[in-house]
């Protein structure tokens, strides 16, 4: 496969961005649908080329295609080279990004129809897809970081797409600032690694870490710094608060960026640098603990949210935690020597990325379903929905499939990857396994709470009256149905083996006790949701009263937003640091400038007394001056 083709995968969406921003929007603004077509054509072409790349990689030796690299920057003797990596991991990510992006763009044709910023929307979506592809392909930390910030920028632009809404503008700023905290750690880690090894190249860093050349506290701190970037981007505890607010953006944006691709970039980063992480027991344990804790922590908040997109957002955080947990659990086993290094590393990446792969499809489908529901009802509040099953059969059907998939019901996609993570957690660290099992139960419960409240029972909203409810147009339904098919079958694809992990047989997976345990827990979760929200055997209201403290804790999101805002932002930053800097600015910086000015004025006030306006006094002064000059001439010459 020629390297130019791989570059084309990356450059096509950027090209589309340039065409839309500089040609279509200025000159063809009266036909905005053109920008949608350009985006779809370019991303469709990227998808086809990505499939080609996948086929080539699966045939290549060691699942890596040799790619040339290019000189990017030469600063003195320091030469920074950039290039692309096309290996199994990159090929799988390429497929995820381009396929979900393509389907979401198709869906957006319907969802965004008539929006004033239609062309701008597709321009940003193209830019995002290009940056994400660059992030996946980069073979070099500096290059990766460039695209890492690129997707962050697109996320900011698209969350704040409806910038005239104050909540959207605030959410965009919040997302940008919070991810920046993590990115700072990431950047420091990159510089630390460069200072110690003199290279940004990911492959070399992996070799150095595995060979033990790079080790000790440097490796640990670098890995933790990189992980802090992943924590910010993948919305892991404690930097998760931006993702639920990011739901202010258009729903297809949430489906693409905040469910399937960008938030998964953190998981991808850990997987890409897995040898570095697995070489430090402390770093990989941090990954596992943060992942496991986030999985259960976010799920608890998902239980009580009333906004369908927020439930999905917490679910995303929780599932990303799962992926981190999977990576962390295997990595800990490698670091402890319980698994052989070579096979263990491949297994860890396979476990984490397989779930990422499946999650991308079913979670983006859930978001598209939420968008479709919003299209009909005009709200995201599940208390004002209900009974949509009859009016929107296709949306209901696809949403149900995705919910079953995320709950981990055999034989849908979610089951396979979740089993992989659970099995590895059980082998490695049982405490992580128990956390994950509780999360399985909660995931099933909150998803089916949404399903029953949205689609079951009677319509409770007043927005348009029940006769006004309608199924979404075909352009939105077709991508949803395609994603629903993927949400079923993506787990059957041999992605795990392809990445070097374990294979699984279709019925053989049901033979082990672990599979049955998780299926029973998921079933119990669904049953409980059915009992409460469909049959009303248990009153949701009385349960809420019975567990009032917990309910308050969850629905107020553990008061973390308040803690961050009141304590960190207002107390520490605004009243502390900013006030100190303000004082310094006022008194020291301004003081110096104003002091010089005031000194000059005061000196002038004194010296101007000499200007009497008396011509004769001036004449006398000139005369004395001449005398002095002449005297000097006589004395010194």
């Amino acid at each position: 496969m020629p390297p130019e083709v791989v570059l084309a995968i990356l450059l096509l969406p950027f090209f589309s961005f340039v065409i839309i921003s500089f040609i279509l929007r200025p000159f063809f603004n009266h036909r905005p649908q053109l920008s949608g077509y350009v985006t779809i054509a370019s991303i469709g072409a990227s998808l086809l080329l990505s499939i080609w790349a996948l086929i080539e990689v699966s045939g290549a030796e060691g699942h890596v295609l040799p790619m040339p690299d290019y000189e990017w920057l030469a600063i003195g003797d320091t030469v920074i080279r950039i290039g692309v990596t096309v290996d199994a991991l990159a090929a799988v990510m390429l497929i995820v990004v381009t396929s979900v992006s393509l389907l979401v763009q198709l869906y957006s044709q319907g969802y965004m129809r008539g929006d004033g910023g239609y062309a701008r929307y597709f321009a940003f979506m193209s830019l995002f897809t290009g940056s994400m592809l660059g992030l996946v392909l980069a073979d070099n930390l500096l290059f990766l970081y460039l695209f890492w910030e690129g997707v962050g920028l697109c996320s900011y632009l698209l969350i704040g797409f409806w910038f005239h809404k104050p909540e959207a503008a605030r959410a965009a700023t919040k997302a940008f600032l919070i991810t920046r905290i993590g990115d700072f750690g990431f950047l420091v880690a990159i510089l630390l690694l460069y200072a110690k090894t003199g290279t940004f190249d990911i492959g070399e860093l992996q070799h150095l870490a595995l060979a033990g050349v790079l080790g000790g506290s440097v490796l640990t701190w670098a890995a933790i710094g990189i992980f802090s970037g992943a924590v910010g981007k993948s919305a892991q505890f404690p930097l998760h608060t931006w993702l639920p607010d990011a739901m202010e953006g258009p729903t297809p944006v949430s489906a693409l960026i905040h469910a399937a691709t960008m938030v998964a970039a953190g998981v991808y980063l850990v997987a890409r640098l897995f040898p570095v992480f697995a070489s430090s027991a402390m770093a990989i344990t941090t990954v596992a603990i943060i992942g496991g804790f986030t999985a259960i922590f976010a799920a608890t908040m998902g239980l009580v949210m009333n906004d369908i997109k927020r439930v999905l957002a917490y679910s995303t955080i929780s599932q990303l935690g799962y992926m981190m947990l999977g990576l962390g659990a295997v990595g800990m086993a490698v670091a402890n020597g319980a698994l052989p290094v070579e096979a263990g590393l491949a297994l860890g990446v396979a476990v984490g990325i397989f779930h990422l792969f499946n999650h991308a499809f079913f979670k983006s489908l859930l978001f598209l379903g939420a968008g479709s529901v919003n299209h009909a009802t005009g709200t995201f509040d599940i208390r004002e929905m209900g009974g949509l099953r009859k009016a929107m059969p296709w949306t209901y059907f696809t949403f149900l499939i995705a919910s079953l998939s995320i709950a981990g019901i055999w034989p849908l996609a979610g089951f396979w990857s979740k089993e992989g993570i659970l099995a590895q957690a059980w082998e490695s660290t049982p405490i992580l396994f128990y956390l994950a099992m509780i999360t399985v139960f909660m995931t099933a419960f909150y998803m089916f709470r949404v399903v029953f409240l949205t689609f079951g029972g009677e319509y409770r909203g007043q927005a348009q009256g029940s006769h006004g409810l309608h199924e979404s147009p075909l352009v939105m339904l077709v991508p949803m149905v395609l994603l629903a098919i993927l949400a079923v079958v993506s787990g059957w694809l041999p992605i795990s083996e392809f990445l070097g992990g374990e294979s699984h047989s279709f019925f053989g997976a049901l033979s082990g006790p672990l599979a049955w345990a998780s299926l029973v827990l998921a079933g119990l979760g669904i049953l409980l949701a059915y009992a409460i929200y469909s049959k009303k055997w248990l009153s949701a209201e009385s349960l809420r009263r019975a567990f009032a403290p917990l309910y308050t804790l969850f629905s107020r999101k553990y008061w973390l937003d308040e803690l961050y805002e009141r304590f960190f932002v207002i107390r520490l930053l605004v009243n502390g640091l900013f006030a100190a800097l303000h004082w310094f600015d006022d008194h020291i910086i301004d003081g110096v400038v104003n002091g010089i000015a005031e000194g000059t004025v005061a000196a002038g006030r004194v010296i101007r007394r000499a200007e009497t306006g008396q011509l004769q006094a001036y004449g006398l002064a000139i005369f004395i001056g001449i005398l002095v000059i002449v005297a000097c001439l006589f004395i010194f010459s």
Partner: protein, 101 residues
């Protein structure tokens, strides 16, 4: 006693000093103007004396130029004094303090 160059120069210096004193110390603007004329004429004496004893004609030519300039300057100076007298009703140089801070 023969009259030599130094006598002319001493006379010139005395006249110049008298003129300078008048220009700097007198209050009446007309007197100041006259003092300036004295200083110019002191220079003229020196010029002519150098010309006479040094055998250059240049000094005498300059003396004529200075007389012309002095005449013009006296006319302009008197005109200014009359103008300022009309507006301020005085020719006292110490009262001319418009350029003061």
């Amino acid at each position: 006693m023969a009259v030599g160059l130094e006598h002319f120069l001493i006379l010139s210096a005395i006249l110049f000093a008298i003129g300078l004193y008048g220009a700097l110390a007198k209050r009446n603007a007309v007197v100041i103007l006259m003092s300036i004329e004295i200083m110019l004429n002191a220079v003229n004496i020196a010029m002519v004396a150098f010309s006479r004893y040094g055998h250059f004609i240049t000094g005498q030519v300059f003396a004529i130029f200075i007389m012309v300039v002095a005449a013009a300057e006296a006319a302009v100076g008197l005109a200014l004094i009359i103008a300022i007298y009309r507006s301020r009703e005085t020719v006292d140089a110490e009262k001319f303090d418009l350029m003061k801070w």
